[in-house]
């Protein structure tokens, strides 16, 4: 029972991170019909910037803010300079461009920050709280992870629902031409969307790194998990991405927690889930019969 709780809570915590990453992919997919395969590398780059600051003696929180801000800048610049020319073109071209960015940024990280494993701090402890004389498997770090992802999601919902910029961004995403005719500066909204998505991706990169190790390719698995979670939820739906992330987090943790040496099977499990979803419900788990086939 104790182990089940443990595994479930770890699964939910990691699921939140996958959810955040999937959300970043969905934000970009909705607005530009591009799956940003460079998202992982971009997030890794910001995590290394944060680590450099922490190693230089700055506090975790300063490093976090700088990392998120640099994520925004990176996302916005990449959209404006590199993605804009291939937007709306053949989909294969856009896919290849983001894959190119994926390798290029990853290699650049290795050149600038080195390719060795480096430990990444977490601002809170990883020991479970004690109630009476039993230790419950809820740790301050897991609360921090879940809390920060929830806050980020809340802010995004507020932005999109209740602000004029959010409305302009949604209009640009769903009806580019109509939005332009209505005077919305669609290009600027897409740049902003990529920037915001990169912030969310960067956050998930920092959260998954916390208390563990980072190296240039440490986000490779997360890009797969994020993609699987996003596809689970339908790739178009932010809520679907969150639910997909949680489901995937639980599934992967049950595999690594209960199957002997299951941690080696985590990636292949994600692959299996992806294949099943794509074959059985290509529109995602929550699509109706009239699912849009993107």
């Amino acid at each position: 029972m104790q182990q089940f709780l443990n595994v479930t809570l770890t699964g939910l915590t990691q699921g939140m991170i996958y959810a955040a990453f999937a959300l970043a992919l969905v934000l970009i997919w909705r607005s530009t019909r591009i799956v940003n395969f460079a998202q992982g590398s971009m997030a890794a780059a910001t995590a290394f910037i944060a680590l450099a600051l922490i190693q230089a003696g700055w506090s975790y929180w300063v490093a976090l803010v700088v990392a998120l801000a640099s994520g925004f800048l990176l996302g916005a610049v990449i959209e404006r300079v590199i993605i804009r020319p291939v937007e709306g073109g053949p989909e294969l071209n856009a896919v290849i461009v983001t894959l190119g960015l994926f390798v290029a940024i990853q290699a650049l990280i290795a050149i600038v920050f080195g390719s060795s494993f480096q430990s990444f701090p977490t601002p809170f402890g990883v020991r479970g709280f004690t109630v009476g004389d039993t230790t419950i498997p809820v740790t301050p770090t897991s609360l921090y992870v879940i809390g920060s992802v929830l806050i980020t999601m809340g802010l995004l919902v507020a932005l999109f629902r209740f602000t004029r910029v959010g409305l302009a961004m949604r209009a640009s995403a769903f009806g580019q031409e109509v939005a332009r005719l209505l005077g919305v500066k669609v290009g600027r909204m897409l740049t902003l969307g990529w920037g915001l998505a990169a912030v969310v991706g960067s956050l998930s990169g920092l959260l998954i790194a916390g208390g563990g190790f980072v190296f240039p390719a440490y986000m490779d698995s997360l890009i797969v998990f994020g993609f699987v979670a996003a596809v689970l939820g339908g790739l178009d739906s932010p809520i679907g991405a969150v639910v997909g992330g949680l489901i995937l987090g639980l599934a992967l943790n049950y595999v690594s927690g209960y199957v002997p040496r299951g941690s080696a099977l985590v990636n292949i499990t994600a692959l299996a889930i992806l294949i099943v979803v794509l074959l059985v419900r290509p529109g995602g788990l929550f699509s109706s019969a009239t699912a849009r086939r993107a």
């Binding site: 799956v35 294969l92 390798v103 290699a107 080696a264």
Partner: protein, 400 residues
């Protein structure tokens, strides 16, 4: 218009291709669009007036010329270059298969590194037997296993496109090495499996002695072996590309709806494309295992798949010659940029990352500025130039 045909699109279909029975479904040659996946496929040599009219004969002739050329190249270069050329062969075999899939059929795959791993591990397993069977059979086994895995992937992939396919094959590339780690008793876990490179047969000794008098080293033997595999693969692929099958693939890529209306089973043709390219990847993996003498998860990372993608994008998707040139870049660029990096004060591990950095930049730049790839762009320039020359000539003729 008195000149014979020199464009690839209008050559008659070969009567019998080396690539199995054709299905009997005729399709029109699909017009190429200006997308990444739309180059007219040049066969290895292209049709010139002095070559025979039959595609098969012409390809045989090109094959012969290439074989002689490769032999001369291998004999006049030093052992280090020999080993580089051996590496070139496995990259080129895999890239050749991938360019058929991506360029001709419009499907992207980031899973070809994983399919190479399947071939490599198969070869390593067969060679680890106490009394290994003959090497060609072992390589064939690698091809067969990769083909089976490729068929499974292909069935799943046939319904996907663009980003979905890229994501699914990416998951394959990241996920498959986990199997090698999980079954570490068989596959050696993270360390992988050492591969005992087979000794060159005696006939090779006497052959090299007869041709050049060089010493017939193990490295040279592997380079020859890779070259033979490469030539066979490209010969088969070139014929396939020009056959009815190749034309159907292009139709499936360019005219999805029209092809479906014409009774073409899109899914089946996509699976076939995947199977063919998986077979090439399996062979490439087998050769890699022999050349590198190791089959380990670290050899088949996502960067390998992306390198292959760089090679075919650079060469212009769909072009075998382009895939070969792109693969040459994968072999000869890293030492060059690594030296360059060292000159600029980077240490070894940092400098080693310059090559993947360049691959990434090349992918981005090529897609933004030259979606037809460099070979494709040069080809297009050449064809435009020819067309202009001709109009100028005909104008001069009619004017005078």
């Amino acid at each position: 218009m008195s000149e014979p045909q020199n464009t690839s699109a209008s050559t008659p279909a070969p009567a019998g291709t080396a690539a199995g029975p054709s299905s009997g479904k005729a399709t029109e040659e699909a017009p190429a669009r200006a997308t990444a996946a739309a180059n007219p496929p040049p066969a290895a040599g292209g049709g010139r007036t002095f070559l025979p009219q039959s595609t098969l004969l012409r390809h045989l002739l090109v094959l012969l010329v290439c074989a002689v050329g490769a032999m001369i190249l291998l004999e006049i270069t030093d052992p280090f270059t020999n080993s580089q050329l051996a590496s070139l062969t496995y990259y080129a075999i895999a890239a050749g298969g991938l360019t058929v899939l991506t360029g001709l059929n419009g499907q992207i795959s980031l899973g070809h590194g994983a399919l190479m791993a399947v071939g490599a591990y198969t070869v390593a397993l067969f060679l680890s037997a106490d009394e290994p069977i003959a090497l060609p059979l072992i390589l064939l086994a690698g091809v067969v296993t990769a083909t089976i895995v490729g068929a499974l992937v292909g069935v799943a992939a046939a319904r996907l496109h663009g980003p979905y396919l890229a994501g699914a094959t990416l998951a394959l590339a990241v996920g498959l090495p986990g199997i090698a780690i999980y079954f570490h008793d068989i596959f050696g876990g993270e360390q992988g499996m050492r591969v005992r490179a087979p000794r060159p047969p005696e006939v090779f000794d006497s052959f090299i002695g007869f041709v050049s008098g060089n010493s017939a080293t193990g490295t040279k033997w592997l380079a020859y072996l890779g070259t033979i595999c490469l030539l066979i693969t490209y010969f088969l692929l070139a014929n396939l590309v020009r056959s009815r099958i190749g034309r159907t693939w292009r139709a499936v890529r360019d005219q999805e709806v029209a092809a479906e209306l014409a009774g073409i089973n899109l899914g089946a043709w996509r699976v076939l494309a995947f199977v063919v390219s998986a077979a090439a990847a399996g062979l490439a993996g087998g050769v890699l295992a022999l050349v590198v003498r190791l089959a380990a998860p670290s050899g088949f990372t996502i960067v390998l798949s992306l390198s292959l993608l760089t090679a075919i994008v650079l060469g212009g998707l769909g072009s075998l010659l382009g895939a070969l040139l792109g693969s040459a870049l994968l072999v000869f660029l890293p030492p060059f940029v690594t030296d360059l990096g060292a000159d600029f004060g980077l240490n070894n591990t940092e400098a080693a990352q310059l090559a993947p950095f360049v691959y990434g930049v090349v992918l981005v730049v090529a897609m933004i500025f030259a979606p037809a790839g460099f070979v494709g762009t040069v080809r297009m320039r050449w064809l435009t130039y020819r067309a202009k020359q001709r109009t100028a000539a005909s104008r001069a003729a009619s004017g005078g």
